[in-house]
Amino acid sequence: MSEQEPVTPKPAPTAGFQPQATSRTVLNMGPQHPSTHGVLRLVLELDGETIVKAEPDIGYLHTGIEKQCEDKFYQQVVPLTDRVDYLANLSNNLCYCLAVEKLLGLEIPPLAQWMRVMLTELTRISSHLVWLGTHAIDIGAMSVFLYCFREREELLRIFEMFSGQRMMTSYFRIGGLALEPPRGWHRRVKSFLDRFPDAVQEYEDLLTANPIWKIRTQGVGIVPLEELLNLGVTGPMLRAAGLAWDIRKSEPYSSYELFDFEIPTRQEGDVYARYQVRLEEMRQSARIARQALEGMPSGPWKADAPKVVLPDREKMKTEMEALIHHFKIVYEGFRVPPGEVYQVIESPRGELGYYVVSDGSARPYRVHIHGPSFGNLQATARMIEGRLIADVIAALGSMDFVLGDVDR
């Protein structure tokens, strides 16, 4: 896992004093290191235990998704977006769908919008649970992982109930949802939301006042706010440094303006503050999901756009027109007016953007995915240089990156 090679010592200074004998070690952390959460390789130059230089090496998970998008119909891109950020697949589905819907000028019915809000908030909780579990396990708190995955399992079952898939859901489609919400979803989501606040309290009991947790996380990984902005960092990392910026509030999409929630912030900007912000975000997400659950409007779950949205199965078997539309959409796709859109949403990790360019054909001319992890990971070197090697684990965990989102 680690390879050590001596680096040529510094040339001796010409002045008349004895040079300090220094030797630097180059440590190769990853790409199979458990705390890199995927396949990130970090090349660390060490002086003793202090990091002199850190260089992240990415690209091990590059699958050419952006190139593949150009070869598919608009509706065929949705399953690819699941695979970008595989812990927040519904956020990616949503962002892509919103971008194409904007190009098409589609009006989405309220039920679909609210369902999207509820499910993306549940996704946020599920993503934060994975983050908390793995972050804690990195630092040495084993049991938190088991608690987190207990709740996450229930969320994955809810996603399976909706879409038939636990992780690669593709539940949001251009024009609405993929399927009608299943029978009994209300009871299932409600029972989860009833239990969840107690579960968050349990994680807090294990960690918030835990002296080991505090020593490992407080004062670690601090970068001034202006520098974070300049580096392109987004999401909970900015909020932990004191900036109350959340795209759900500043540029609301999918009727987020109708929901009542707060943006948690902290001033310290260290790993502990990021932990506190994300824990509070889980509570706020549960609050939004509950509002969506209780106020869920009725009506259609997909837009009335027969040339874009697939018809119901029954209609296909009874109406000639519906059958023709179905055939045309599946075999020829639908044409999208020329133009370009940069749609941003607040994913669990920060600002997620889809830049979609249309040339008027049935396939996107260009899809660029601006993943929040890509921007956040750039801050790595700034965050750990000059610190001890043990802090690398805490700092990396606090960034909550997903390599699928970085490499695409």
């Binding site: 690209g59 590059h62 902005l229 500043s250 830049y355 001319y365 601006h370 490499d407």
Partner: protein, 162 residues
């Protein structure tokens, strides 16, 4: 040239006053403002927008290949001001022959990886970039996959020594 309706846009007027001739086109669609910028002036424009107009963030940087049209490449910058809650898109058109543009890393250090990605996948060079190497693909990869003349399927494009 820019449409009449956009002449009144304060951003364009301000840029026109400080850096005359830097904005060569403008458009507003889907509520998003796009300015086409003279490639040689991009760093000046970005620095002005950051310092005087409050665009403290570079949200995204990418490129589009319009092969076989000329100028072939568009480098697309998405700027964002958290304070003003404002987004802006800048575009620079580059020729297909040896595309080159100045790096905006002196303005936003976060542009570093984005420019490396564009260099890697499109083969556009960024002048004055501190570390212009491939970022997603292996160092010895042949070609630039997001160019439109690079096939999606077909014969294997792989490591040179295989």
């Amino acid at each position: 040239m820019q449409p009449e309706s956009l002449r009144q846009e304060p951003l364009i007027q301000a840029l026109e006053a400080v850096l005359p001739g830097s904005v060569v086109g403008a458009a507003r669609a889907h509520g998003e403002l796009t300015l086409t910028v003279e490639p040689a002036r991009i760093v000046d424009v970005c620095r002005y927008l950051q310092e005087s107009e409050g665009f403290e963030r570079l949200s995204d940087l990418t490129a589009v290949d319009w092969h076989p049209r000329e100028p072939r490449f568009e480098v697309v910058y998405h700027l964002h001001s958290v304070r003003r809650n404002l987004r802006l898109r800048l575009k620079c058109r580059l020729s297909g022959e040896g595309p080159e543009i100045d790096s905006v890393t002196p303005v936003w250090s976060g542009a570093d990886w984005y420019e490396r990605e564009v260099f890697d996948l499109f083969g556009i060079r960024f002048r004055n970039h501190p570390n212009l190497r491939r970022i997603l693909l292996p160092e010895d990869w042949d070609g630039h996959p997001l160019r439109k003349d690079y096939p999606v399927y077909g014969p294997k494009y792989g490591y040179k020594d295989e």
